[in-house]
């Protein structure tokens, strides 16, 4: 099954050809975030090739509009829970590039003190609750975060991201069943990048439309491409409003594409170069930039923005390189709160 454009877009999702200045500034900010994620991960890939980053490294490259657009639709007090492909989500939720890169380097200054690595980005001050390594296991957990919001009536909304590879496992079903039953303020966002590691959609799902499952749970659904970061923001915003105002969950499927392999060890031989090139032409970062220039966003400001991103990435890498390794004294206190229980 080739990637398809067959998904119908609703008329209100059509983006006007010209944008007012304030919206351009907003788009510029989202563009900056996406570019920052892209450049950080490109540097991470380089560092990985040099052996400075170990273990798994699942890159978000190509999917940036999903995390950036969705998180633009929520507040600082809202929560985000995601899978192991979590770098972009963490940055979009406010984690500093330094904390991210240092964690990838396994350094003491990383967000999790070098204990978590690529798959476990946590930044509680910004509501970034991981970074979880077992496919689908975090979906009930995210529902639990939303449960706590409803229990306390704190008004917060939880976004739960996962790949389409997660929708066949029990955690997906149980998490959505309970969130629907208890009307939890959560938005489930399936980032459908067409491959469950190396296995394409048609070999993992009998029904391609993930959101049809929402009908069975009795919750609202939405489905669209991630080409336009503003469209992602707007559509997730609708689901967020439903969660916040009505305490109702939504299942959203966003069709996207990762330009790199599943992880750094994956040469992605299961797809053709043509397919990849076709998707790269739909790169949401290029699209956002084109949109900015077409609408007259100041070139000098754009240059400054891009230079700023480069400087921020260089600073993060330098910080990670120069940071100390964690001391073994961190091990026991991070296993238990209070005395160690042996």
């Amino acid at each position: 099954m080739p990637p398809t454009d067959a998904i119908q877009k609703s008329p209100e999702s059509i983006i006007p050809l010209t944008r007012p200045g304030s919206e351009l500034d907003h788009l510029a900010d989202l563009y900056r975030q996406m570019l920052l994620i892209r450049r950080l991960e490109e540097e991470a890939a380089r560092a990985y090739a040099q052996g400075k980053i170990g273990g798994f490294l699942h890159l978000y490259i190509g999917q940036e509009a999903v995390g950036v657009g969705a998180i633009a639709a929520i507040k600082h007090e809202d929560y985000v829970v995601t899978t192991y492909r979590d770098h972009g989500i963490a940055i979009a939720k406010g984690m500093t590039p330094r904390a991210l890169m240092a964690e990838l380097y396994g350094k003491a200054t990383g967000c999790s003190g070098g204990l978590g690595g690529s798959m476990h980005m946590f930044d509680t001050k910004n509501g970034m609750l991981g970074g979880h390594g077992i496919v689908g296991g975090h979906i009930p957990l995210a529902a639990g975060v939303a449960f706590a919001s409803k229990y306390r009536a704190d008004g917060a909304v939880t976004l739960c991201f996962f790949g389409e590879g997660a929708v066949s496992i029990a955690g997906f079903h149980e998490g959505l069943s309970l969130a629907a039953l208890w009307k939890l303020p959560i938005v489930f966002i399936c980032e459908n990048n067409e491959y469950s590691m190396g296995t394409p959609l048609e070999r993992t799902m009998n029904v391609e439309d993930v959101t049809l499952k929402a009908l069975g749970y009795g919750i609202d659904r939405n489905r669209f491409f991630a080409d336009d970061v503003l469209e992602v923001e707007q559509r997730i915003g609708t689901a967020v409003a439903r969660a916040r105002e009505l305490s109702l969950p939504t299942l959203v499927e966003i069709r996207t594409y990762r330009f790199r392999g599943h992880s750094m060890s994956d040469p992605a031989k299961y797809r053709t170069q043509d397919e990849l090139e076709k998707h790269k032409k739909r790169d949401p970062i290029l699209r956002a930039r084109a949109e900015l220039t077409k609408n007259g966003y100041d070139e000098a400001r754009l240059d400054a923005l891009e230079n700023g991103v480069s400087a921020e990435v260089s600073d993060a890498v330098k910080f990670a390189e120069e940071s100390p390794e964690p001391d073994a004294s961190i091990l026991e206190p991070t296993t238990y709160d209070g005395p160690f229980a042996a």
Partner: protein, 333 residues
């Protein structure tokens, strides 16, 4: 003031008092509310606290275990009931990769203050899938705490400690203990996690045990007393943290040790106790440490075979006799 109540009432009293004390504490599980608890542990709690805090779930252990963990991450203090610990197998990933890891993978930014509780190990003829001693799987996992009380007062005191602990605590009860009675003080009694208790002092052999097997060991000790063998029984109460000092102290006194628990002999809590006792009290031991466990097979349904497979006083008596005679023979040569 002490009064005599049942094990299940002691558990309930602890949960009610903690829920009255702290709005962040809530109870969730299958049949805990309207049904009044599959084993009546939670009887009356829905009426007392309402459906916001006493929450019936569908049959989805992985789902509601995960919901509890997520809620605990952001500051609530859930009590999650498994109708039996056997059903926690489908929530194992949530406990192993969620509850036990959240603090570590967040570099200490988050805690997971949650209690998982329910009946564990054998009941009566419920077959292999419903008779398993699950504590052995869980006690091996760093990041978890595991407790298994034998008496109503400990059930109450340990439950209160478990609910107030900032770490995940797995609370192992026993269907066959729910109706036993014991003195339980009213009000705020706390039994700290990680503290064993000598429930019978003796001089010839230490039996290290916990949960229902503490009662089996007591029965064995009474018979052995008539033979002139004085048994000291150490009720672990907590399996992780394990009260190593209490084990070592008792073994140094009696010079012999038998570990009695349900569950299979391959690895497990008994092997852990034996390892620590031989490492830390080697020079005091007069005999090898023996273990009395469930047989190394899935639990049979047949009543006689089930009895055969599960530790009974006779098997405990046999093990104690062996280590005592071995010790005496060794000393006389």
């Amino acid at each position: 003031m002490p009064r005599v109540i049942r094990f299940r009432e002691a558990l309930r009293e602890a949960m009610i008092e903690e829920m009255e004390r702290d709005d962040r504490v809530f109870l969730m599980g299958e049949e805990v509310g309207y049904y009044q608890g599959a084993y009546k542990v939670t009887e009356g709690m829905l009426e007392k606290f309402g459906p916001r805090r006493v929450i019936d779930t569908p049959i989805a252990e992985g789902g509601f275990a995960g919901i509890g963990i997520g809620a605990a991450m952001v500051g609530l203090r859930p009590i999650i009931e498994f109708m039996t610990w056997n059903f926690s197998a489908v929530a194992f990933d949530q406990i192993l990769n969620g509850a036990a890891k959240i603090r570590q993978i967040s570099g200490g930014q988050l805690n997971c203050p949650i209690v998982f509780r329910g009946p564990n190990a054998s009941a009566k003829q419920v077959g292999s899938q419903h008779s398993q001693a699950m504590e052995h799987f869980y006690a091996t996992v760093p990041g978890l705490k595991v407790v298994a009380p034998a008496f109503p007062a400990d059930a109450k005191g340990l439950m209160k400690s478990a609910i107030r602990d900032n770490n995940p605590v797995l609370f192992m009860e026993s269907e066959t203990l729910y109706s036993i009675k014991g003195d339980v003080p009213e009000g705020d009694i706390i039994v700290p996690l990680g503290k064993a208790q000598i429930i019978r002092p003796g001089t010839d052999c230490t039996i290290v045990t916990y949960s229902r097997m503490a009662h089996v060991a007591m029965e064995a000790a009474m018979t052995l007393e008539k033979e002139g063998i004085s048994v000291e029984i150490l009720d672990l109460r907590s399996l992780r943290p394990l009260d190593e000092d209490a084990i070592v102290q008792s073994v140094r006194k009696t010079h012999r040790c038998v570990v009695v628990h349900e569950g299979w002999p391959y690895g497990g809590v008994g092997a852990e106790v034996a390892d620590r006792a031989q490492r830390l009290a080697f020079d005091w031991l007069d005999a090898p440490i023996l273990r009395v466990t469930t047989f190394d097979v899935p639990m049979p349904y047949n009543a006689k075979l089930e009895e055969l497979c599960t530790p009974q006083p006779e098997r405990v008596i046999g093990a104690v006799r062996r280590v005592v005679s071995r010790g005496r023979a060794a000393r006389s040569t």
